[in-house]
């Protein structure tokens, strides 16, 4: 069976579907656990029973989200073994170790302290209960850490050595893997985006209560906590986003160029604040990239290289090469990549023949060109370019919405603090409708990170076309639809149960 484009496309679509659905549930848990922990801390410090009721209400919504989202990530692990077996084998223990730690940590911390958090209100001391709530928040965030370390390695593989005898990457330096700058910035940016989403969720639902003129005190208190948390974490999100973009510029310049629709590199490059891509633009032609654009001068140079005058390479600089800037073309990288692949083949054959001298020579050639190995599998240089429109629009959607959320938190906090929030209907409606926008921003962020990384499964080393298993595309297609139905069902169930609980309100049963 051949690796047809159809198989690759269905495998990618299936993974994207499961990851995007999984990501609907995770960020809310990451952030809501902290908001609940803050609320319970206020309860323990003040002894005000209202704060206990407030905490318990948000805890119930957390439980619904947690229960529906539970194990949706497991499907991705099934997919690794079936659809992405080449990838799973090649990443070896580098991917396996963080995922195993995540599994154990999630199981022990969540099953133990989650139970105390929900069942222990009258059975353990207030302080013990509070400690459990904080540990659930910290534990769920630490789970995300290990997943993002694994993902960071795919974006910027470090701390490993490729074993040509087993065709696996072996971990050489665990510290390098966990402190991979790409993983660190990705973790901080991802979890802080979860905090922002959870803040939007609490503010939006509280706004609904105020619009309905019910549970006023509960809603206002919840809003103040969530808007304060959202404002602080939005600033952190901004900062971690800056660091993330810096890492992308250093390690994945093609992704950065696609995110900004930058075809030809320039010094003092600007950021497109708002832009509409020209659909007729193709690689290598001299058509305008944008039909319309509003640009912030020098900002991309600063964002990517922390210098206002830095040169930011464009897609075509990397594709066709730029001697002046010492940028090697993809065509040249493909030649070196093919040398690496050919040397690996020679090594394998020499080992089989028992010819040690030939094997050592081949190994030397392989190691010299190994960093370009992935390029050896590309059919043509243009394959190294990700989908520009998808990367550009996802990135700008994420950034635009992130900016809006920061403004919203300031407005909500201001009116809540001066005790005017229930009279500002436009703010309440804006807060309510910002809940789905929070999810849109989350999904757009995932698309930027993962679609922008294409064609690579492991940056520069393994393209997705080589990562897929030799399975029938029809079976992947069937499971794609099966998951689409299952996840949509789960999402409908979550929304229905949650809406019912919101209508019952904080005074009802939990």
């Amino acid at each position: 069976m051949e690796h047809t484009d159809l198989l690759i496309d269905w495998s990618r679509a299936q993974f994207a579907l499961t990851a995007l659905y999984h990501w609907l549930f995770v960020p809310l848990t990451l952030g809501l656990t902290f908001i609940i922990a803050i609320m319970e801390t206020i309860y323990v410090r003040t002894g005000d029973i209202w704060w206990k009721k407030t905490t318990q209400f948000w805890m119930t919504l957390l439980a619904i989200n947690f229960a529906i989202g539970l194990a949706t990530g497991i499907i991705m692990e099934f997919e690794f073994g079936t659809n992405w077996s080449n990838y799973s084998w090649i990443v070896g223990d580098i991917f396996g170790a963080p995922l195993a730690i995540e599994g154990l940590m999630a199981f022990f911390m969540e099953s133990t302290f989650f139970a105390v958090m929900f069942f222990g209100w009258d059975k353990v001391s207030k302080k013990m209960h509070l400690l459990s709530t904080w540990l659930v928040a910290i534990g769920s965030n630490l789970s995300a850490l290990w997943i993002l370390i694994a993902n960071g390695w795919m974006q910027h593989p470090v701390g490993m050595h490729f074993n040509p005898d087993t065709a696996r990457n072996e971990m050489e330096n665990f510290t390098e893997v966990i402190f991979n700058p790409n993983a660190v910035s990705k973790f901080l940016h991802t979890v802080s985006s979860g905090y922002v989403l959870a803040s939007l969720f609490v503010i939006g639902i509280s706004a609904w209560y105020l619009l309905k003129k019910r549970d006023i005190m509960f809603a206002k208190r919840s809003m103040i906590v969530a808007a304060s948390f959202g404002l602080i974490t939005s600033l952190f999100l901004l900062n971690s986003g800056d660091e993330s973009a810096f890492q992308v510029a250093q390690q994945q310049p093609m992704k950065l160029a696609a995110m900004e629709g930058l075809y030809q590199g320039e010094s003092r490059a600007g950021i497109i604040a708002i832009g509409l891509l020209n659909n007729e633009k193709t690689l290598g032609d001299d058509k305008d990239v944008f039909d319309f654009k509003l640009e912030i001068p020098n900002a991309l140079s600063f964002l990517g290289y922390h210098s206002l005058s830095a040169f930011v390479p464009g897609i075509e600089d990397m594709l066709y090469g730029n001697e002046e800037q010492h940028i090697m073309s993809v065509k040249d990288k493909i030649i070196l990549g093919k040398k690496a692949v050919s040397a690996l083949k020679d090594y394998k054959e020499a080992k089989r023949e028992g010819n040690q001298e030939k094997a050592q020579q081949a190994l030397k050639t392989f190691e010299k060109n190994q960093s370009y190995m992935g390029y050896g599998y590309l059919k043509k240089p243009e394959d190294a370019v990700p989908n520009v429109a998808l990367s550009f629009y996802s990135f700008h959607t994420m950034v635009g919405l992130g900016t809006w959320f920061l403004i919203l938190f300031i407005i909500v906090l201001y009116f809540a603090m001066i005790n005017e929030i229930e009279h500002k209907k436009w703010v309440l409606f804006a807060a309510l409708f910002s809940i789905p926008l929070g999810y849109v921003a989350q999904e757009a962020g995932w698309i930027v990170a993962e679609a922008g990384r294409q064609p690579w499964a492991i940056q520069d080393l393994l393209p997705v076309g080589m990562a897929v298993s030799n399975v029938a595309s029809t079976s992947v297609m069937i499971t794609f639809w099966l998951f689409a139905i299952l996840f949509t069902g789960l999402l409908i169930a979550e929304i229905k149960i949650m809406l019912k609980q919101i209508k019952i309100g904080p005074e009802g049963e939990h």
Binding site: I90, F119, G120, T166, L344, K348, T479, I497
Partner: protein, 70 residues
């Protein structure tokens, strides 16, 4: 034994007194059944585990995959 009993009753009473939680546990049960008893076994056998017996065979297969002509 006393500690084990305490833990048992902690969970027992916790589950018993749940309101919304009961519905959620039913949902979790159905979901886990679909995931592990249906989807995993029917649609998601581990490709390398089921096609090859040893790690040596898997390595050999992967090296062939990585070095075959494009």
């Amino acid at each position: 034994m006393h500690l084990i009993q305490k833990i048992y009753f902690f969970y027992y009473e916790g589950f018993k007194s749940m309101q919304v939680g009961k519905k959620l546990w039913v949902l979790i049960g159905i979901k886990l059944f679909i995931l592990f008893a249906v989807i995993k076994w029917i649609y998601f056998p581990n490709y390398l585990e089921t096609h090859f017996q040893t790690d040596e065979e898997r390595s050999h297969y992967m090296l062939n995959q990585l070095t075959k002509e494009n």
